[in-house]
């Protein structure tokens, strides 16, 4: 009797493979680097034109960083799922028996990593163009905030991106579905970054409770998303 045995890879191993696949696609295409990052910097410059006041810019810089993140995220999510649906890759993954939880987790982490990279550019832009103050203790708060917010945004972006994937008019549907859900992240991340930047007299220590809100948000959408993603993409 043949002694063949087909081992089912663990969920985390599959998720890791999916994540690497998504990041490799980005590294090869360089869409984030060549298109989305410049787009987000342009948004920051346009905010400066619109507000036209150094003092106000310094005060509202944290909000502008996160608004630019949200807008850029829409582009990244659409790009991620356009790649998946263009050649029926998402269906192929499903047919191949890939666990949807692993698919969700892998794609979410990859999206989170891309958003983190984007936020490094945006925080740097705020530092140089908006003249915000950033000390070492503040930098730690900003770092943790970026990390937690991007994990949460990765989960939400993947969940709703999967829902809109393959749908007619997804470009217009995605912002309508996604932006209301990310409002808590915008609020939490802006307040935490305000503390990190010392904007409006906020103390650095005031940022930590807001980071806690971001953590709760990320955990909730991580758990719920891994359950809901399967039925959403199961066409």
């Amino acid at each position: 009797m043949s002694d063949t045995y087909t081992a089912t890879p663990s969920l985390l191993k599959v998720a890791r493979t999916i994540m690497i696949k998504d990041l490799r696609t980005e590294v090869n295409s360089r869409v984030i680097l060549n298109q989305v990052a410049p787009f987000s910097v342009v948004i920051m410059i346009l905010f400066a034109f619109a507000l036209d006041n150094d003092g106000i810019l310094q005060r509202v810089a944290p909000g502008l960083v996160w608004l630019a993140t949200m807008f850029s995220m829409l582009v990244v999510v659409q790009r991620t799922f356009a790649v998946e649906t263009a050649d029926g890759a998402l269906d192929a993954l499903r047919v191949a028996g890939v666990d949807t939880r692993a698919l969700f987790l892998g794609k979410s982490v990859a999206l989170g990593v891309q958003l983190c990279a984007l936020d490094v550019v945006l925080v740097a832009t705020a530092f140089f163009l908006y003249n915000v103050q950033l000390e070492l203790s503040g930098l730690l708060v900003v770092f943790v905030t970026v990390l937690l917010a991007c994990i949460g945004l990765g989960f939400i972006g993947t969940l709703y991106g999967g829902l809109a994937a393959g749908a007619r008019g997804r470009e217009t549907l995605l912002p309508l579905l996604l932006l209301p859900v990310v409002a808590p992240v915008l609020i939490g991340a802006t307040r935490a970054t305000e503390a990190g930047f010392n904007s409006g007299g906020a103390e650095v220590s005031e940022g930590w409770p807001w980071s806690g809100l971001l953590l709760i948000f990320a955990v909730i959408f991580g758990v719920v998303g891994s359950v809901a993603f399967g039925p959403l993409i199961d066409e």
Binding site: L163, A167, R168, L177, P180, V181, P184, V224, A228, L232
Partner: protein, 246 residues
């Protein structure tokens, strides 16, 4: 049969409609004539008899959407009737949130001097409105009835999660709005007995109106599905005939 129309009403819905109409007349009389003016707000307070029942109906509608969506997803026999009730309820919920936002803005202009303030309850309600507009957009995405039902049921349950999260974060972001006065026994604001009665009359009337609208709307959606399905059958039959001719 061509040329005939299929009604969405039954004897029970017609009776409900008549009773709702009678209650509406009763509410108009009490709201505009019988109930007293407010000491501070004057006649402006009468906006309450539309504003509060509207948001009540919206909450009931979205709760019903969530419950029937959960029933659809959990049931072994996934009847599309649950999906149509969810869709009908969400449509009517969106309508009543819109009424609540409009009447609230007008009331706010008269009492606070502004159409809008960025407080927790107003902002959360605006998010509620946008979220369910998104839900209705997803229902219109196309695909099979089963796809529509599954997608929208999951989204309805996600909305149940999203709304409290948004509300909580907006509450800690900012809160200027007065606390609920009727439901919150901790406050010392008291409504006049007749005003309170008129308010509850409004809630009962609007709830009956909602029930009547949902019953009709879900039947209209069933007919719409039947028309779509019939169109598909016809198209398949035409293709088969074309193939036979060749």
């Amino acid at each position: 049969m061509p040329g005939t129309s299929t009604p969405t009403g039954t004897r029970a819905t017609r009776m409900l409609g008549v009773v709702t109409l009678a209650f509406t007349v009763w509410l108009v009389v009490f709201g505009l004539v019988v109930s007293a003016e407010d000491v501070v707000q004057g006649s402006t307070v009468r906006m309450m008899y539309v504003h509060v029942p509207s948001i009540w109906v919206a909450y009931v509608a979205f709760a019903l959407t969530a419950v029937v969506s959960a029933v659809y997803l959990s049931g072994k026999n996934r009847s599309l009737a649950w999906d149509r009730v969810a869709g009908a309820s969400a449509e009517i919920g969106v309508l009543f949130v819109a009424i609540s936002l409009i009447t609230g803005s007008l009331w706010g202009r008269l009492t606070w001097g502004t159409y809008w303030v960025w407080d927790a309850r107003l902002t959360s309600t605006a998010f509620l409105f946008i979220t369910y507009i998104g839900y209705l957009a997803v229902r219109g995405l196309g695909g099979s009835f089963r796809q529509r039902a599954r997608r929208s049921a999951v989204l309805a349950l996600l909305a149940v999660l999203e709304i409290p999260l948004v509300h909580f974060s907006v509450v800690i972001w900012r809160s200027l709005h007065q606390e609920s006065t009727v439901a919150n026994s901790g406050t010392d604001v008291e409504l006049d007995g007749l005003m309170l009665f008129t308010l509850f009359l409004g809630i009962v009337t609007f709830t009956m109106l909602f029930a009547w609208m949902v019953l009709h709307r879900q039947r209209a959606l069933a007919l719409q599905d039947a028309v779509d399905s019939h169109g598909l059958d016809l198209a398949i039959k035409q293709r088969q005939q074309e193939a036979e001719v060749r």
